[in-house]
Amino acid sequence: MSEMKKIKNLKEFSTSADRFEGANLLCPGCAHSIIVREVLNATNDDLILSASTGCLEVCTAVYPYTSWDASWIHIGFENGSTAVAGAEAMHKALKRKGRLKQPDKEPKFVSFAGDGASYDIGFQWISGCMERGHNMMHVVLDNEVYANTGGQRSSATPIGASATTSPAGRVSYGEKKNKKDMVAIMAAHGIPYSAQVAPNKWKDMVKKIQHGLEVEGPVFINAMSPCTTEWKFDPKDTMMISDLATDSLVFPLYEIIDGHKLNITYRPKNVIPVEEYLAAQGRFKHLFKDEYKHLIKEWQERVDKNWEMLQRREEAGV
């Protein structure tokens, strides 16, 4: 059983981080640290954590310092999920053998990784962890780009974004491919719980993390993480950008139970045009040139269609 944490208000929630130190090297305005605090603050459970190579990892464990007050491991770019799976297997083994040092405690196992380390290079490892049924949670810090190496496209980079390996230029509007639907792929493993979360919707986040830690078996969480550096917005605007993403439905919040039953968990009262979301970020700046304006229209149509699909799936209730 997971130890539910009572959370009264945002102030108490945001200041109760005692397992992830503010002393880290992440950029000002980086959503990674906000998300990690939200995940860790959602529970009083003991945690065994990992991070795959990426911004979070290089900014929080630079010898001789660490930002982590819970056991934490990093191996490489692709295998953070499997590191935690190995630890979870050892926990099972030692529990059965009566060799745990604190046998009364049930730690939870959580791996963090960026979209590059999850959608691309670590895809197979995560799939393996989900398929094998480890009692663990994988959280993607999805900033839709290889931020740590300086802004290359990943399979999470959306159409029209300018990334260093799919740059907008005289004859190109940037990334040509649509973002991979990782939540659907992970849900297709038949795992008990998968969900999308965003840092601005912290109550939704807490609920999902708590549920995810409570269920038995593998859990997949895709957390939108606006990147001030690569999305090109002012560091003070992280939450504003997050609001635009969730309220324009570019990043809808939902959960999938047991691989099939979909629930939408946030319905914006006033849906904002996608154009406003795009206009707030430098990575989409070029789309506002006359020759690419049709892409903004296509963006809106795609978001509308996706939202309709999610609603229909929810209604179907299967």
Binding site: V62, S71, W72, I73, G76, G86
Partner: protein
Amino acid sequence: MAFDKMELNEIEVWDGNFAAAQALRQVQVDVVSAYPITPSTPIVEGYAKFLADGYVEGEFMMVESEHAAMSGCIGASAAGGRVATATSSQGFALMVETLYQASGMRLPIILNVVNRALAAPLNVNGDHSDMYLGRDSGWIQFDAYNPQQAYDLNFIAFKVAEDHEVRLPAMVHQDGFMTSHTAQGVKTLSDDEAYGFVGEFKPMNDMLDLENPVTHGVQTEEDWHFEHKARQHHDLMTKVFPKIEEAFDAFEKLTGRKYNIVEEYMTDDAEVAVVALGTSVETAVEVAKEMREQEGIKAGVIGIRVFRPWPFEYIAEAIKGIKALGALDRSSPNGAMGALYNELAGILVNSDEKAVLTNYIYGLGGRDLTKAHLKEIFKELKANADAGKPTTELQQFIGVRGPKLAYL
């Protein structure tokens, strides 16, 4: 603990794979994270079957690749328990990234490597390409020449690797098929003797100690990376051999079976000797005896038991008085001299010993090294010894079709 012990005969007929699997059972490995590959698969299948039959207690993670297998081992080992796996060839190559991570993180994982050639062309048979690929990875490398040794060296490997002064992962190598699939008599330890020899796993910096959180796998740049790597090398150079000696002594007391970091056969008065790894050592010993009896050539054999750390001083001692040495390398040197040749040259260059050193490349992809080949090699070495200089090219390929391949 909820598992049954197994009654073993004093001598069992086991192949190298099953011998290794039995050793993993007897030391009660907590987690095996593994992926199948020929010819090492039966080792982890064996563990899985012992688990299914209740003869071992632990967790078996059957993962989706060898990279994930070693990644799982690293996570499990950092969590704080006894961890082992097995692989060969391509699987070993896929693991290489994580091998460096395992040793750099000082995690005492035991990897049974059933040596096999590396593609292309694809080949499932034994040579030492994979073993050589691992030689800079910071692991301890033990080499078994037969199933008995594959069994025994696993116990030694756990004991040395898990020692808190060592804390380094170790590989136990055996030759693909020649050892792994060849059944021979293996003298066994009882379950209690085996477990008692290795002892209960003593965790250190274990992630599962919830009251003492640890950070594993940090970032270090130019300010600290060098110190970490230097420390690891220092420990390999200074701490590992004394611990291996200790373990060998304790094992001899327990079983009567004596192991040495460098195995010497008839080297005391030898004029010529070959230096080899794996099953070829046993063939070479047989041929050396015949050379002495039939040809009057004082032949000897030096078998490498510990390939990493490289037993520089032990070999310097072993080659004393030998006038011609043949380095037998079972891996394509791909544009250089063989690894054993280069390592031996490194010893000879500042030594008072003036042995003539030549290199023989043999057995790639499981090609047999025959007694006839070895006889020829010993005769050439004798000619080198008499001449005081090489009488052949420095590097020759043995047993390959077509015109003779020889270089330098």
